[in-house]
Symmetry: C2
Subunit: 226 residues, 2 copies
């Protein structure tokens, strides 16, 4: 959708935007998400991202300092909404910790499976170990702490020693994030979110007979916008 | 360990090998595993791999057609040994399917966590979707079929409908592979393998009271070299 005037130097203008109607900043994020997950992070240049977003490269730099900042924002977008959900669930002591754990896992899986691109696949990029991505690692680690806190408050979790609790949290968090590895076009994200949250409670040590009731409570918490 | 004679053109010679005493082919695989997981696949050239392996680039091409073939071999090495274990466990109908599932998961996690480099991180490379890696995808898919077959044979699995069985297999296989996401230097791979195999049985629907006995049977199967 480039017009001749889009070649003018300066701040991006409305007529540079593609037909999607998105904000140019969101256009850049969407284009980068697609390119990073299909062509690879290393192989994608800011020029290619700008082209895909219908902007000039200079305009892209108006919104982002560079490719790393775009990646950092995409990564944080895969964990921050779940951290917000966790913070909303933490004080809901009227609901059992098991139901809150179910709700957190469901919501987290729905986020990781939502959207057209498997952004979680970017977690394992060697580049992401760099200091530049400390904020992402911090948010992801805070989110994991909420899993641990909820697990420790469950009946089965309260019986675990410190080392066992850490290991069980690794497994719970790993199970949730494993949807990154199994996410496929032919799978229904809603069914996967429910099944994963159920499986998380099983891993936490919840007995089969309690599962249906806790799932209903978890769904109620989510419907109430916890 | 390059010596002046290592510059000669032709087949690689014994004196080109680094001090490790490994076969040059294995040197190439080891060097590539390190470089792909630390610098990234796209950013690594066959020249760099050859240098790290103590070979000339021409010698590397004596063993591998190129970078893709090296990656394909590394990827297949993360699934083929587990497929062999699965094939060994399948006919062991003297042991309950739950114990065999425990053994398969334990062995798979130990493989994925073994070795100095997290090769599973390479599963999510966009490049790996290419036809060139069909053999890896086929072996990984056969391995997953064994998980499904064992799960279907368990008491809880036998009660699942076809769609539920597929979904539950996704979760079991995802839980096993999730060690790729949580693999860290400060975690004991042995403890993680046991905990993940236990968690797999919980996800499969095994009751807490049966877990310890099935774990012992699973460990016996592995010790017997199933």
């Amino acid at each position: 959708m480039n017009t001749p005037t889009s070649r003018r130097v300066g701040r991006p203008r409305a007529h540079e935007r593609p037909a999607s109607g998105l904000d140019p900043r969101d256009e850049v994020l969407g284009a980068a998400a697609e390119l990073f997950t299909t062509h690879g992070y290393t192989a994608t240049s800011t020029r290619t991202i700008a082209e895909r977003a219908g902007l000039r490269q200079a305009s892209l730099y108006h919104y982002f300092a560079g490719k790393e900042e775009i990646l950092a924002e995409l990564l944080e977008g895969t964990v921050r909404p779940s951290l917000d959900v966790a913070r909303g669930l933490a004080p809901r002591t009227d609901a059992p910790p098991e139901a809150r754990l179910w709700a957190l896992c469901h919501s987290d899986v729905a986020l990781l499976c939502g959207g057209p691109h498997n952004l979680g696949a970017l977690y394992l990029l060697p580049e992401v170990r760099a200091e530049r991505f400390a904020a992402f690692h911090r948010v992801r680690s805070e989110l994991k702490d909420f899993y641990q806190e909820l697990l420790a408050a469950t009946a089965a979790g309260a019986a675990l020693g410190a080392a066992e609790l850490t290991l069980r949290t690794d497994l719970l968090f790993g199970l949730t994030e494993s949807v990154i590895l199994i996410r496929r076009a032919d799978r229904d994200p809603g069914a996967l979110a429910v099944a994963t949250a159920d499986a998380a409670l099983r891993v936490a040590g919840v007995a089969q007979r309690s599962l249906a009731g806790l799932r209903r409570e978890g769904q109620r918490l989510l419907a109430a916008g916890a």
